[in-house]
Symmetry: C2
Subunit: 357 residues, 2 copies
């Protein structure tokens, strides 16, 4: 009896090999092995501007799996020395202002002059509705087909902070993949503008002429954040109204104190639909980059943004650790009741709760 | 030899008793014993509207001594069931708007109609300069002599949060001492308006006509907090300008969405110097109290304010505990350096620091 016969599979002649070793399973297993993520390979492919590798890395960043997050952190760390070289532009404006059309036209203008651009989005509502801006890529028909453009819908997440973190990490990956300009769209809901403002170099506010829109903007403090206000749809019958709005916004902007960037915010008009005034906006941005690079503000702002995110992340974690602890949740309810009954003060209650931990 | 002679003090005749037992020391010790604070006595005297007892309790609240703070907490707890019955009014406006004159005239009006009023202040700058608004009581010559008025300068403290806590606790003591109206002045520096707004029922913004002041107010979000804007110095040559400003502010206020209080903020003119329009302001406040008491907003707002202070106090403590820890201070510097060198991200750095604690 030859030694080979010792294997159980060959014990009886005529018995086919076990199911698990059938051709289909082997293929699946091989495919899985192939899919096994090798961070070093991914990084090296990202640096080679491979879009598939970039997309896979972003998927890891967005994953809720702890293992994926560890791999993502590893990849981001390796990408960091190659990041930070793009111009990061935030774009906001109320629904209907024409953000998608603007990004499409502006993006096409940039790729036409040889830039590689990435389009990301911050959409806090997507974590609730599971919908997403940029989700409907058909709204950017031309840009989506452009090989020098990369469009990625908003990450979803349980909180705006979570979405923001994923977007910031995605920026790093996109920069490592050699994108020159990162456009970050925001829906203009809740705190999303502030969040985007805290991660971009240049903040662009899209507006329409008329409609009392101006005052709403002032109220929400968005105008103060804008490095440039662009009045869109300045075409046809709308043109003279847009020019008037430009004068008004310019006057309003001059009432604000000079920014620490030494940059006097601009007002421009454009028609994204008819591709008019788009080159001028890019010129304004380049001028901004030039001025703020020379006076050091560009670097200072990025450092400040990094510190902001560092502190924010820590503070959010401290708070959620505290308030999510079971013993605190119970005791908090009780203390609030005591406060309402005039049996304790908010300060005494705070001390009591802090002593529980 | 009698036993008593064994004491050293009596060993030699004619030697006077030791220094420590001299008359002056005995007096000092007796006085100290007298001053020993008995919380129960203080509380019972506060409830009897005794101003000396109130002042001593406030001094305990403001003390940095841990022992005093414990006594203060005890006193506040006993006062709580007797508190919450006043109308708390916040008064703000830029320097020069006439806050002191307004408070003097308004305060005198209130005492004249039988109200007992307490005037407090929030002055974050006083913790730095050790100066204080209301410190110069001569600015309110008449009110300071009024036995139905109690004026207390701003507490000093190392932080606005600390000053705010002391002021909120002082409000409770004043209410227990039977004051009907608490006026809280703010200097309008930094976050002081927001702080005062979060501890009053009614927020009154003093303005002057003209001077582009309007837009500055809009910018800082103060106008949105105001329940009523009062244009002061509406007298003499200024009268027509003040009336015009009233129209303009009214128009501006109508552009803001209705508040959850269902209260449409008012604009009034007055001349504190000439005691004109003061009674009208009190009428407006009573109308506000009436409306918000009936629709439940008054109580809801106070509950929300209590919760706000509870959460704020806890969060501030969590942050200061974390960031003041020696090991964190060192590591934080190091992590910030790594971020600036593109060797880590704010998020990875945050995780690293959180794991240290």
């Amino acid at each position: 009896m030859p030694k080979t016969n010792k294997t159980a599979l060959n014990e009886k002649e005529g018995v086919s090999i076990s199911e698990i070793t059938n051709a289909s399973s082997i293929k699946t297993i091989k495919n899985r092995r192939k899919k096994q993520i090798n961070p070093e390979d991914l990084v090296s492919n990202i640096l080679k501007k491979n879009i598939t590798a970039l997309s896979r890395a972003i998927t890891l960043v967005e994953s809720t799996s702890l293992k994926h997050q560890e791999t993502a952190n590893n990849i981001i760390k390796q990408c960091l020395p190659h990041a930070n070289k793009s111009i990061r532009i935030g774009i906001t404006g109320v629904p209907g202002v024409g953000k998608s059309t603007f990004i499409e036209t502006f993006g096409k203008h940039l790729t036409a002059i040889g830039k590689r651009i990435a389009v990301l989005a911050i959409d806090p509502s997507s974590s609730i509705t599971k919908g997403s801006i940029l989700g409907d890529k058909t709204r950017m028909e031309d840009l989506v087909k452009d090989e020098n453009a990369f469009i990625r819908p908003s990450a979803s997440g349980s909180s705006l902070g979570g979405v923001a973190r994923k977007t910031r990490e995605t920026i790093i990956l996109c920069e490592a993949a050699g994108f020159d300009v990162i456009l970050i769209e925001t829906v203009g809901v809740g705190q999303s503008e502030t969040t985007v403002h805290s991660m971009v170099d240049f903040f662009l506010l899209l507006k329409l002429a008329g409609a009392g829109d101006e005052l709403q903007g002032i109220k929400r403090g968005i105008i103060e954040m804008a490095d440039t206000i662009v009045i869109n749809k300045a075409d046809g019958d709308n043109l003279s109204k847009a020019k008037l709005a430009k004068v008004e916004f310019n006057r309003a902007l001059h009432l604000y104190p000079t920014k620490s960037s030494n940059w006097q915010p601009r007002v421009a008009t454009c028609s994204a639909l008819q591709n008019e005034g788009i080159d001028n906006i890019w010129k304004i941005i380049l001028e901004y980059i030039d001025i703020t690079t020379k006076n050091g503000f560009f670097k200072t702002k990025r450092n400040d943004q990094n510190k902001f995110w560092l502190i924010q992340t820590i503070e959010n974690q401290l708070k959620s650790d505290f308030f999510n602890a079971l013993e605190i949740k119970e005791a908090l309810k009780n203390q609030i009741q005591l406060i309402e009954n005039n049996q304790t003060t908010p300060f005494a209650a705070a001390e009591f709760l802090l002593n529980l931990k």
